[in-house]
C-alpha cells in the first residue's frame, strides 16, 4: 500500500517537474543568453539538493514501476511482490548513493 502511495506521489512530482523542464529547455529557442541565465540560476547548492531529490523520485518510480510490471505480467509476480519491493528499495539506495556522491561532488565541489 505504501509503495502505491509512493508511486503516485513521485509520479505527480515528476510530472510537474517535466512541465517546467520542457519550458526551461525551450529557452534555447529564445536566445543562448536566456537559456544560460536560467540554467545558471539553477547551479547553486539548494538546487543541487533539489535535483538529488528529483532523481531519487525518478529512480524509485522507475524501479517500482518495473516491479508493478512484474506483478502484472510475471506468473509468480504476485507471490514475490514483497521480495521485489525490498529489491526495489535496495537498488534505490545503491543507485542514490552512487548518484549523490557523483552529482553533489560535481555541483558543490570547486570547478
Amino acid at each position: 500500500m505504501w509503495s502505491w502511495v509512493g508511486h503516485r506521489v513521485t509520479g505527480v512530482v515528476i510530472f510537474f517537474f517535466l512541465l517546467v523542464h520542457v519550458l526551461d529547455t525551450s529557452l534555447v529557442r529564445v536566445s543562448p543568453e536566456a537559456y544560460n541565465a536560467v540554467i545558471g540560476s539553477y547551479k547553486n547548492p539548494l538546487m543541487a539538493l533539489g535535483e538529488t531529490g528529483l532523481v531519487a523520485a525518478i529512480v524509485f518510480h522507475a524501479f517500482n514501476g518495473l516491479r508493478i510490471i512484474a506483478v502484472d505480467f510475471w506468473k509468480k509476480g504476485a507471490k514475490y511482490q514483497r521480495q521485489m519491493l525490498w529489491t526495489v528499495l535496495a537498488l534505490w539506495v545503491i543507485v542514490m548513493v552512487g548518484f549523490s556522491i557523483r552529482h553533489l561532488s560535481l555541483a558543490l565541489g570547486g570547478h
Partner: protein, 160 residues
C-alpha cells in the same frame, strides 16, 4: 450510520469488450480505451526507464556533469539526430505517460463531475501545449541564432 455507496467507476464506461453486457452499469460501450491505457503505461514505462536513465547519465554523470550544461551543450547534443530522436521519444512518451497518470489521480480524488471535467480540460490543454512546444523546439532549434544580421552572444557558431 450511512450505508457505504459503491459508485460507478469514473474512468470512462467500463464493461465494454470482454465483460458481459449484463455487468455493465452504464449500458453503452467506450471500446477498450482503459485497457489500452493500462497497457500503454507498462510498455512506455519500460522504454522511459532506458531513455531517462540514459538522459540523466549523459547529462549529469559524465564529463563536467551539471556544470557543463549550457546552450553549447544542448547545441552539441542536438547536432546529432540520435539525440534529437532520443529527446523527442522521451518528450512524447513521458508526457503521455505522465498525463495518463494524472488523469487516473483526478478520476480517483475529484468527486464532483464538474471538478473532474475541468481538471482534465486543464490537464489536456497543458499537456498538448508542452508536447507541441517541445517538438517545435527540437526540430526548429538553431545553434547559431542571428537577429537582424547580428549573431546573438553565447551562440554555438563556427568561427567566421
Amino acid at each position: 450510520m450511512s450505508a457505504t455507496q459503491i459508485q460507478t467507476p469514473r474512468s470512462g464506461k467500463v464493461g465494454a469488450g470482454r465483460v458481459a453486457p449484463k455487468y455493465n452499469r452504464n449500458g453503452s460501450s467506450k471500446g477498450n480505451f482503459e485497457m489500452l491505457a493500462w497497457l500503454f503505461m507498462r510498455l512506455s514505462g519500460v522504454v522511459l526507464v532506458v531513455l531517462i536513465f540514459g538522459h540523466l547519465f549523459v547529462n549529469l554523470m559524465v564529463g563536467g556533469g551539471i556544470h557543463a550544461v549550457d546552450f553549447g551543450f544542448v547545441a552539441g547534443k542536438w547536432a546529432d539526430p540520435f539525440w534529437q530522436v532520443w529527446d523527442l521519444a522521451m518528450l512524447w512518451l513521458a508526457m503521455l505517460h505522465g498525463s495518463n497518470g494524472v488523469r487516473t489521480i483526478i478520476n480517483d480524488y475529484a468527486e464532483r463531475d464538474a471538478t473532474r471535467l475541468w481538471l482534465k480540460i486543464v490537464l489536456y490543454a497543458a499537456a498538448a501545449a508542452i508536447v507541441i512546444l517541445g517538438t517545435l523546439v527540437i526540430f526548429t532549434f538553431n545553434p547559431c541564432p542571428v537577429v537582424d544580421g547580428v549573431q546573438l552572444p553565447g551562440g554555438f557558431c563556427p568561427a567566421p
